[in-house]
């Protein structure tokens, strides 16, 4: 490539990035493809592609999916995607996942732990207030967390806080959470969408009914399942909240949602229909955000059932799947390849191990080693697992033929799939929502005695490391442990992880955001209303 055309290319990419059309990851990727070194590309990113200063003003109209009339203000029963968007707009959390997918402060300024990670102290923002004007104090934080604890709790987040033995107040702006055993991930857990801060009543319960919060926007008018209008909360402790007001409208029908965006009824929408994605992308007034997330498709093989008890058979099946083709044909390029360990690149402690690629010859080699030539297995799936799940399995079966493996695709009914097939069928397909850290994910579905250990994989070293890493506060040591665990899972584990599915949503081109997007939820970790702004 000549010097001149390279410059032109960089300029063009910088312009795209400024408009929010190119993420940092893509920018780095293309710059390096154009012949730049990684450090040069990174420097360019900061100098050229840095965003223009956000402008304040305007009413941001957001169309959300999955809203129900039965949604409520009770943070313990937050369930729909629509309420998750709203929750991050009118309430706040102790910590948050930032646009660059790191852990950052929300209403807690800072936090620290005892060396065994069993006691965590959170310093709360001073001067933060509720929309009603009441100052936010330690009592509110404690009551808000206690809402999810105790025998009488009706919160869906009770399991998350089951290790918490006590929460004490140090002073008006400091609390300490005491755990039964060390957990270095506790500040990450505080980003869970249930753990919203609400005003405390005098008896230690919370007043969730009023819909009061400490978030960037205050509710003016709300009807669940219909919509909510909000205005900026002037006493907000955070940075951002560029829009003067926010109008959220529940648009459950995918067609209604996309039409509303196309006709300018709303400025942004969640969850696009993948089948019509290419049509929407042709519209010059609309920008599609295609954000890799930690939501995974897994194919667990029961490690205590023949023939999956052989590591070589499992490796052969992992090598016989062509991830690139599946992503292209089934997801319309809205997923990134998985590497057979359940940690996505946007998660902390992700290990950049070599990508496993489709290699039928190598798969044959492993089959021969296992003495399982002419392998024939049954793979169970259902339409509801993922849009295109059955097609995906059929495509995999075709790909595996080249490795001499015969995969019979068994299509199970949607109803009861997760109670009748998952954890029971020897080889099936599962969809997982994103989890914030490797510890949460591994403890839930890979630990030897976990109820949801979906492949029944037992690996002594893996489980030993899992327990050690959980309370390890030294970041380097911890990263090294997680790296080893990811290698173990990749090479010996019982799950094929073909891909991590993206969040795909859209906005009008005059809405701008920072170059990176938080991948914990749709719309910049459900914080678009406080992080985005109007360009004109």
């Amino acid at each position: 490539m000549t010097e001149k055309s390279q410059d032109e290319l960089i300029e063009r990419m910088a312009a795209e990035a400024k408009r929010g059309k190119l993420s940092r990851r893509d920018f780095m990727h293309y710059s390096m493809a154009a012949g730049l070194t990684a450090s040069a590309a990174s420097g360019l990113w900061t100098s050229k592609a840095a965003m223009a200063a956000p402008k304040r003003g305007g009413t941001f109209r957001l169309g959300t999916h999955d809203g129900n009339t039965s949604d409520t203000h009770d943070p313990g029963t937050y369930l729909s995607f629509s309420i998750i968007q709203l929750a991050h707009t009118y309430r706040s959390y102790l910590t948050q996942i930032t646009a660059t997918n790191e852990l950052g402060p929300d209403i807690a300024d800072s936090w620290s732990a005892t060396p065994d990670a069993a006691e965590w102290t959170f310093e709360l923002a001073k001067g933060a207030s509720f929309h009603s004007g009441k100052p936010f104090t330690a009592d509110d934080a404690i009551a808000s967390l206690n809402h999810h604890r105790g025998e009488k709790t009706t919160s869906a987040a009770a399991a998350l806080l089951k290790d918490v033995v006590d929460i004490v107040k140090n002073n008006d702006h400091s609390i300490t959470i005491k755990l039964a055993s060390g957990n270095a991930d506790l500040p990450w857990l505080m980003t869970d969408y249930h753990l919203a801060m609400c005003p405390a009543n005098s008896d230690g319960t919370i007043d969730w009914q009023s819909g009061d919060g400490t978030g960037p926007y205050k509710i003016v008018n709300n009807e669940f399942g219909v919509g909510c209008s909000l205005v900026r909360h002037d006493g907000w402790h955070g940075e951002g909240a560029y829009f003067d007001a926010v109008e959220m409208t529940v648009l459950n029908d995918p067609n209604a949602r996309q039409t509303a965006l196309v006709t300018g009824e709303v400025d942004g929408i969640t969850q696009l229909e993948l089948k019509t994605l290419s049509l929407l992308q042709r519209n010059p007034n609309i920008v599609v955000d295609n954000v890799p997330s930690a939501a995974a498709i897994t194919m667990p093989m029961l490690c205590d059932v023949k023939p999956f008890d052989s590591v070589d058979v499992r490796l052969a099946l992992k090598l016989a799947i062509d991830r690139e083709e599946i992503i292209k044909k089934i997801t319309f390029d809205t997923a990134i390849p998985g590497n057979d360990y359940h940690v996505a690149p946007n998660m902390p402690y992700w290990a950049d191990l070599p990508q496993r690629v489709y290699d039928p010859e190598k798969a044959k080699f492993h089959l021969k080693k296992a003495g399982a030539e002419g392998l024939s297995v049954e793979l169970t799936t259902a339409d509801s697992v993922y849009s295109g799940a059955v097609d995906m399995c059929v495509l995999y079966a075709e790909q595996a033929k080249a490795a001499g493996i015969d995969i019979k695709v068994n299509r199970a009914p949607n109803d009861g799939y997760y109670s009748d097939v998952w954890l029971k069928a020897p080889f099936c397909m599962v969809q997982w929502g994103a989890r914030p850290t490797p510890d949460v994910m591994f403890s839930l579905a890979y630990k030897d005695d976990a109820a949801w250990n979906e492949s029944r994989w037992q690996n002594e070293r893996f489980n030993e490391l899992l327990l050690q890493a959980k309370s390890e506060l030294d970041q380097d040591k911890r990263a090294e442990m997680y790296r080893e665990m990811q290698m173990l899972a990749k090479n010996e584990g019982g799950s094929i992880i073909p891909m991590f599915t993206n969040f795909v949503y859209a906005r009008n081109k005059n809405v701008a955001h920072a170059p990176d997007l938080d991948a914990s939820w749709q719309k910049d970790g459900a914080r678009a209303c406080s992080r985005w702004w109007f360009e004109s």
């Binding site: 129900n68 009339t69 869906a156 009770a158 009807e223 648009l251 459950n252 029908d253 509303a260 006709t263």
Partner: protein
């Protein structure tokens, strides 16, 4: 007229009994649905203790008949209970949504009923001509298409391509009446297209059936023009079946519009009912269904009374 009043009172009494039977059926149906509100609200991650705690908090641990009679005791005194989820009175939850549904239904009815009857008269007058055929084919096509499809077609041509009407019918409090009519035009038009055919064809059929009667022949023989024969002589005798069909379609406009609500994002009662069923929110389901049932009962009653009033022979039975 005393006769009509007795009929109305009798029918209202029967209607109340019907509502009671329906309330038992609905309660039974909701009980038969797998899972309960605690499981539906708490989702997959819930623990057993959580679910139990929520059931106790909502009083779901009591036996089903006890819960039903508790609800009934409240209902007869006009207290329909509180929504299990939002904990606000059912009437408060339903009233605004039902008002929206009534508005949309009236909007559609005001357009659809005159058009349907007028069209019916005209096609009866020009029966078996090209006009008759075209009108029939068009209305039958629209009634045979699923509502959501009609809605999408209207959105595409009137909303996206020409931009004449908004594609979604979201409401807010400070809209003028004209803005409201403009914003809800597409859903109203969709419903008009769905109901016109039925009413028009019934008008046409009942008029044509009468055209063979001797008294029509008499009218013709004395030289009355064709349109006058139909409007003055045939139509008065044809009202009864027409009114019945109109009443049925009006009831449909209120009870059968969930799909239209979804497609146009209109905050009506249909969506509320669907959400309440998914979450097993029994008091809301019960109240919505009773409203629907009462709509049918009242409109049927109105149709019968209307048929009597428009027909002197029924008004003065021998």
């Amino acid at each position: 007229m005393g006769g009509v009043l007795t009929i109305v009172l009798k029918r209202l009494g029967l209607g109340l009994f019907t509502l009671f039977i329906i309330s038992v059926l609905i309660f039974g149906a909701v009980e038969l649905l797998p899972g309960d509100i605690a499981e539906a609200v708490l989702g997959q991650g819930a623990t057993k203790e959580n679910v139990q705690a929520m059931r106790e908090a909502l009083g779901l641990d009591k036996a089903a008949p006890v819960r039903y009679f508790e609800w009934l005791a409240g209902a007869v005194t006009g207290n329909f209970g509180v929504s299990l989820i939002s904990q606000s009175p059912v009437t408060e939850v339903i009233a605004p949504r039902f008002a929206n549904t009534l508005f949309l239904a009236s909007y559609a009815a005001v357009i659809a009923v005159p058009i349907a009857i007028l069209l019916g008269v005209v096609v009866a007058l020009f029966r078996d001509t090209l006009f008759d055929r075209v009108a029939n084919v068009l209305t039958l096509t629209s009634i045979s298409s699923p509502e959501f499809f009609l809605g999408y077609v209207l959105i595409l041509y009137l909303g996206v391509k020409t931009g004449m009407f908004p594609s979604i019918a979201t409401l807010n409090d400070n809209m003028t009446f004209l803005e409201l009519l403009h914003r809800t035009f597409l859903p109203a038009l969709t419903m008009v297209l769905v109901v016109v055919a039925h009413m028009m064809r019934m008008t046409r059929a009942s008029i044509i059936a009468l055209l063979a009667s001797p008294y029509i022949e008499m009218a013709r023989l004395k030289g009355t023009p064709g349109w006058k024969v139909i409007v003055k002589h045939a139509l008065p005798n044809a009202w009864a079946p027409i009114i019945n069909v109109v009443a049925l379609n009006l009831a449909y406009l209120i009870t059968g519009v969930v799909l239209v609500e979804v497609v146009f994002v209109y905050p009506g009662i249909g969506q509320l009912l669907v959400d309440a069923v998914t979450k097993r929110d029994f008091p809301v389901v019960q109240a919505c269904c009773l409203i629907f049932a009462a709509t049918f009962i009242l409109l049927n009653l109105a149709a019968d009374v209307g048929a009597i009033l428009t027909n002197p022979r029924l008004r003065h039975p021998k």
